[in-house]
Every structure is written in C-alpha cells, then in structure tokens.
C-alpha cells in the first residue's frame, strides 16, 4: 500500500515536472506566438475596410457604385510588350537625323547606365518618315498609316518616365504600381472597387496576341494581396477561349447546377465559420464558370460578326492576332466588362535580329496593330461607347536615341536600347481631351523638357476617370493601407476634358 502510494506520488511529481516544461515550451511559446500572429493576421482581414463583405453579401463581384462620379465605365489597356520605340512612332526628332551615325555626345552618357549599351554608341536617326495628321496637326510616323483616322481622338503623353529599365520590373511597375511582385494590378483594383456589371462575365479579362506570357509573368494581371477573385481572367486567343468550357459527356447542365449548388452550400458554411475571403472567391468562381459556359463562347465568337466589322478590324478568325483581340475587347466592353487588358508581343527592338530591326521586324509589328487600333476606336465611337470607355496605349518604357552596341559592338541591324527617362504613351476616350499633346522631350527625344509624367501619374489618372480618388482608394494589408499609386501620383489634369 505504502509503496503504491509512493510510486503514484513519484509519478505525479515526474508528470508535473515534465508537463510543466513541455507545457511551457509547447503551450506558452505557441501561445505567445499565437498572440503575435493574431495581431499580425488582423492586418490581413478584409472585414475592417469591409468592401467585400458589406456592400456585397456573398458575391465579391457584385457591382458597386464608384466613390465619385466616374467619366468612364470601362478601360481597354493596350500594352505593347517589349517597349515600342517612341522615335519611330510619335516623337518626331528631325535634329536626331542630323546626328545619325555620329558618336553620341558625352553629355548624354554621363552618369547613365543602360541595359546593353557600352562605351560610346552612335546616334540613330528616326527610321521612319513623319507627317502631321488630323485637324490637330499632331505628328505621327509613316509606320502607322491608319492612325490619321483617329489622331484627333487621342491625347499624347510625350514625356512619360519610369525608373525601371528591365522588362519584367518595368511591366510590373506599369500595371501594379510596384516593380516587385505582390501588388494587385490596376484591373484588379478596378474590379475590386467596382465589381462586374455583367454577372455572366468576369470584370477583368486579359487577351494576349500570341508569343507567350509577357516578361513580368501573369502577375501583371494578378490580384496581389486582394482576394484572388479580382485577378484578370486570361482568355486563350486560339481555339476554345477558356479551356474545359463544355460539359463532359454524360453530364447534363442540370446535374452540374445541382453539384455546384451543394458544393457552394458547404463552402458558405465554411465561410461563415472562418470568414476567409478566398472561400468567397471559390464560391463565386464556381458560379461564374457555370454562367461563363454560356456567355463566353457567345462573346468570344467573332465568326458571326458582320463582314463589314471583320473588314474594319482586319481580323483573321481562328488565328492568334492583335486584330482579333481588339474586336474581342470591343465586344467585351459592350457587354459590360470593366477592364480589358491586351498584350501584344515583339516590340523589343534591339536590332540584334531581323525581327527586332527598326526598319524590318518593327515595321511588321506596326502593321499588325495600326489598323486594329484605328478600328477599335472608330467602332467604339460609332456604337457610342467611346465616351464611356478609356483606351490606354503604351509600353513599359521607351528606347534610346542611340543605336544599340551590345558589348560595345554595333548591332547588326538598326535598333535601340531600353530607355526609361522619356517615352510616349497615349490615351483616348471618355473624359480625355481630343488632339492634345502633353509633354515635350529635348531635340533627341532623350530627356523630358516639360510635362514630365510618371507611371503613378498615369495610374492616378486612370483611377480618377473610373471615379476613384487614388489617394483614398486603399486596401489594408499586413497592418497598413496600400494604394495602387503608393505615396505618389498626381492626376494629369492637362489631358482631361
């Protein structure tokens, strides 16, 4: 008896001593960590700003009114991946022609770093004829013969600058406001703030005209720290626009409906206990996919468009082409899609290959986009959509007035290196002045002389036209509010009507 009691007491003591140590290590450290984590995670909660929860109940894409009266309902953003040369398109520099093939003046090279240029490169005159077009008499190059029909609709920004000179970071900067990964793209911000007016289609759609994904990757249309329901939906430009759209054999649409309904009920219960916005994303993606099965084939089908429309754009149904995508963009916008992002590949005109030569491959690229862009604007105009749609055109940076000399040796073809100090972008459509040029570069198109605008200024202007105050449109993440324009950005009033 006595021994048993002893053993039992010893067990209790041992247990207590072990347990207290384990207890401390296990529970207390976890507990303390948990406390800290709780605090940390509070920053991730969306409940605080409550956009997704309050106005929207369980549908994160439910349309919301803009904070201010917006000028446009939709945006079509045409991005020329690789950075097109402003000096062969819009920024006419006759002085540069005079220096053609002469060594670059020392003053331009001092303290500058380039992606490829080394030593003293030669200057490269404009590889295109220029003409004044339209009533505005603005300059445009012979590479864009169709541009005259729309030049009076356009506001040029001729002194845009960026601080990135490599494609990936510069593209991210242009679309997410930060050269590093992790921020939501401008289309995600727009759909987060405004939702989708058409409940059968995503609010943010992305079309690429072949040639693969841009250098910046799919993060260019990613949702960053926003719930992933706001990321861009990429449609394939060839074959089925979205894979696996049609039901498998033997599965009826009713059966699918029942399946989705029950899955979503379970997910709703899950959301009620955990409040994770990603569950809402899942629910709405199932719903959206179900409705898209009908809506997408309809809207993405350009075969049934009238011949006159196909002729206008110069489309080639069944192929991957920028022209097809421009027509699709118009169709999507007229169905209430909020943000359509077009990427066109092949504008990195280094002159190291025939395809990237300013007098060869570059001219082909220009031909591919010239007519479709004119058609897009004219088509939007005659349908009365141009006054409610913003068109933005640009690349991630511009190109040097010097001819590229990779590793100090002049490239085989005429080409230019990356250049972020001054390049041209343009906007057209709702709320934009017609036929205006803002900003000016020096006689070589190298440095801004006046009207310098930043990437954040452009983003602030786009948000402004959609009805947002870019300084107040924030999302709380990791303990602080984030903005598309970070702490910068000023609306470019000079081009606003």
């Amino acid at each position: 008896m006595g021994n048993e009691r002893k053993i039992y007491n010893e067990f209790l003591l041992k247990h207590a001593s072990v347990n207290s140590r384990r207890h401390f290590l296990k529970n207390c450290t976890l507990g303390i960590g948990g406390l800290a984590l709780g605090n940390f995670l509070a920053g991730c909660s969306v409940d605080k700003k409550g956009l997704s929860d309050s106005g929207r109940s369980l549908n994160p894409l439910a349309p919301l009114p803009p904070p201010n009266l917006g000028k446009v309902k939709s945006v079509i953003y045409l991005h020329m991946v690789g950075a097109p040369s402003q000096l062969e398109l819009f920024d006419y520099k006759p002085e540069l022609q005079k220096l053609h093939n002469k060594p670059c003046p020392e003053s331009l090279l001092k303290g500058k770093k380039f992606a490829f240029i080394e030593g003293v490169p030669k200057m490269l005159g404009p590889q295109a004829e220029f003409r004044k077009a339209g009533e505005s008499g603005n300059w445009v190059s012979s590479n864009l013969p169709y541009f005259n029909t729309i030049i009076d609709e356009v506001s040029f920004l001729k002194a845009v600058h960026t601080d990135q000179f490599n494609h990936g970071p510069a593209q991210l900067f242009m679309h997410t406001g930060s050269p590093r990964l992790g921020r939501p793209s401008i289309g995600s911000w727009a759909t987060y703030g405004l939702g989708s007016e058409n409940q059968d289609l995503p609010g943010f759609m992305v079309l690429t005209s072949g040639g693969g994904t841009p250098d910046g990757g799919k993060s260019l249309w990613g949702s960053g720290f926003l719930p992933s329901v706001y990321q861009g939906v990429q449609c394939r430009s060839k074959g089925d626009p979205v894979l696996y759209l049609s039901d498998p054999k033997g599965i009826s649409r009713d059966l699918k409906r029942d399946l989705i309904t029950s899955i979503n009920e379970i997910n709703s219960d899950e959301y009620k206990s955990y409040k994770d916005p990603e569950i809402l994303t899942r629910i709405s993606q199932y719903e959206m996919a179900y409705r898209m099965q009908i809506a997408v084939p309809e809207v993405m089908n350009i075969n049934d468009e009238p011949e006159s429309v196909k002729e206008l754009y110069g489309v080639t149904p069944g192929e991957e082409s920028f022209a097809n995508n421009c027509l699709l963009a118009r169709k999507l916008v007229s169905k209430g899609v909020r943000f359509v992002q077009l990427y066109d590949w092949g504008w990195d005109s280094h002159g190291d290959l025939e395809e990237t030569a300013l007098d060869l491959g570059f001219k082909t690229k220009c031909k591919e986009i010239d007519r479709p862009i004119a058609a897009l604007i004219l088509d939007l105009k005659r349908l009365g959509l141009l006054e409610e749609t913003l068109i933005v055109w640009g690349g991630e940076f511009g190109r040097t007035p010097m001819q590229e000399n990779r590793s100090g040796v002049q490239n085989a073809f005429f080409g230019r290196d990356h250049h972020g100090d001054a390049f041209t972008m343009w906007m057209a459509g709702g709320g934009i002045k017609k036929g205006v040029v803002h900003g000016e570069t020096d006689e070589f198109g190298y440095k801004p002389v006046s009207g310098r605008v930043s990437v954040h200024d452009i983003q602030a202007t786009i948000l402004h036209l959609l009805g947002f105050d870019h300084e107040k449109f924030t999302y709380d993440f990791q303990g602080r509010p984030f903005r598309l324009t970070d702490v910068e950005g000023e609306i470019i009033q000079e081009i606003l009507a």
């Binding site: 012979s142 004119a374 004219l378």
Partner: protein
Amino acid sequence: MWDSILTLIGRFHPIIIHLPIGFIIIGLLIELSRKKFKESKNILIFIFSWGTISCILSIISGFLQYLQEGLLWESIDRHFYFGILTLLFTFGFYQYLKGKNFFSSLPRRLYTVGLVLTVTITGHLGGQITHGDQYLTEPFQIMMDGELSNEETLLSSSNASEGPIFNSLIQPILNSKCISCHNSEKSKGGLALHNFESLQRGSKNGMIINYENPELSEIFVRIHLPKNEKKHMPPKSKKQLTKAEISILSHWINAGAPENILIKDMKISNELLSNFIKKKERFFPEIEISSPNNKSISFLRGKGVHIAPISKSSNLLYLSSYNYHDFMEEDIFELKKLSNNIVDIDLSNSSFNDEVFEMLSAFTNLTRLKLNYTSITGKGLDQLSSLKNLKIIHLVNTDINSSSIKIINSFPYIEKAYLFQNNRNLSKEINLSDEDLKKFDFGEYITQGLTTDE
C-alpha cells in the same frame, strides 16, 4: 553670468513642473484608496510636503523664464495664477493632514477636488503656451479643412481672368496648402501667409520674396526642393502643392509677386490657367432628390437587372440590363417607381419595343438613354420631347427611320444621338444642316490607311 544662470534655471521650468504633478497625482491616488494603507496619513504628509516644495520651485523657475525669455504677461498670466492656486491647495492639504490649525477645519474633499482641478487647468494652460492654443483642436481642423479646400482654389468659369492675381489665385492656393501652419495665430518660423501684408513681411529670417532675383526667393526655393529635402515646403507629411500650383506660384514670383494686377494681364498660359477654372456644368442634373424606392431596386436586382447609384453618395441611378432582357409587366411597374431617380439607362438587347417611350416619358431626369439592338421603330419617340435633361440617345442597330431623326433633332437639349446601323445608311435618307449634323453620329467610318508607305 548671473543672468545666464537665471535663464538656465528658467529653462528648467518645463522639467521641474513634472515633479509637483507627479507628487500630487500619487498623493491623490493614495488618498483615493487610503483604506488599503495602514499609515496613509504619514505617507500623505511626506508626499504633500515635497509637493509644496516642488510647487514653489516650479513657480520660481516659471517666473524666471517669463522674465528672461521676454514672454508677454498677458499670455502667461492665467497659467501663473493657477500655479499659485495649485501651491495653495497643496500646502493647504499638507497643513490639513498635520491637523490642529485653520486648514483642518475645512472639508477634506475641498482639497482633493481642488487639487484635481488646479493641476489639470494649470497643465493645460502651460501646454497652450508651449504648443499653441490650437494644439488639441488642430487634428479636427485639418480633417474639416481637408474636405473643403479643393473647391476653394477654383475660379468660376465666366470671369476667370478678371480678378486680381493675388486674391483670386494666389491666396486661395496659400489658404489650401500653407496657412494651417502659417497664420496670424500660429506662425511657424515667424511666417504668416494669411494676407498680402504678412507675406510681404516675411519670416523671422527676413523676406521670403527676393524682388531682384525672384528665383532665389525663399518661398520659390522651398517649394521647388525635392520632397525628401528637410527644407521642402509644404512638409512631406502635409498635403503637397500640385504641379500646376507650383507653376502658377513660380510665374507669380517671377513677375515680381504683384498684388493687384489682373489675372488676364499676367501672361499666364491658358493651359496652366485652365487648371484653376471650374469645369463646366456637370453631365447629370444637379438636383436634390429623395432616395429611390429600395423595394423596387431589390425586386429588379433579384431578376438580374443592374441598378446602382451613379456615385456612392448620389440618389441618381444608373440601370443596365446585360443579364436580363425580357421585361414583364411587373418589372415595368417597379421601373416606373424609380422614374425620377434614373438618369442613365441602358436597355440594349432588351425585349422593349416602341411602348418603352410612354414609360420613359415619365423619367424626368433621364440624361442618357440606350436602346441599341432593340426592335423599336421610333413610333412614339416624340413623347420624350418633354424630357429636359435628355442629352444623349443611343439607337444603334434598331428599326428607326429618318422621321425619328427629325424628332430627335427637335429635342431641345439633345447633344448627341448615335444612329449607326449595320446594314443601311441612315444619313442618306435625311437632309440636315451642317450645324444639326454635328449632333448625329451615323457611324459610317471606314479604316483607310495612307498609301505613302507602300
């Protein structure tokens, strides 16, 4: 020497005053729960004797500071008197606790309540001297100013360039971005910018405008410094001047910073000036209107119709029917209940025919109407002539004919009608004057390239 020592003692005032505050507060806390202490009386006597001594030191140092630093008596008098009062209460309570004298005949609560009040008031008055008397209200002021400031810098469009440069253009900019720190009551760096005279007077370091070398003017340099520079104005954390505001200030300083020259004589480019002129009237009517019928909105939303205010705080509505086309009688019944609120309506691709015009004629504030891809022929379109706000009408790919165009042309406020038809050429069916033609877009565009490049 002696003088410097007095100044030094005076400058210790902001530190010394925390001693009596601490003594008095700990004393009051012990007093509050004195039942917990066995010997509270002795402890309190000890605390309040030191409280009295530190009070006296505070008053002496404070008075020295007043004498040495050249402060105005009017600005510190109340602080001084309340300091004396605090001393009296502290000393009084000390005497009360020792007992058997005049002070112990008064109620104990008189001292405790008195001490709470005098310490609070004295401290607050002292704070006003060091931090300015708007120190506590300023955060709220900024909140209110922030909301208001934007509109004030704008000129009315009618006689924008008739006003004097300073009062019409410059002062409003200063008001919105500078005077929260540079005004008659609070003038950081001795600079006030609330009127022309104060601006001319400059700061404690002299004039801020250099008439001989305008670009070396202090104000010119400061606003042009990079934002991260310490001397950049406005400070990094405050609302910044816009590029246009910087340009206009620079232009004005370069022109010799005049007061009464008219804006039109200042040679300001129209492009720059346009930033400061109120944009012309809004597209949608600016009217006070009661909030829309929420039941009707929910009913229609339930069917898949998109209805939302045109902006967050507006009672005006935008309606579109991308996901719902076949409007039934009950839908129309609910639609009519929203007739005053809807200003922007898109019924494209819907089942509506010419009967829609009767319904729409009650939409008094309707500004933009879209009926693209519907089977309307234009019969009954004239019922819309009573709509005073109807500015834009879309009738793309419908069955309308040239007589409808004449009716639209007679609408008093119409600005644009989109009449593109895929298979026919409406413009050929009608003769309109060039002036009237501007209102119509028949959309007969073709893409045609120049042939110079081939």
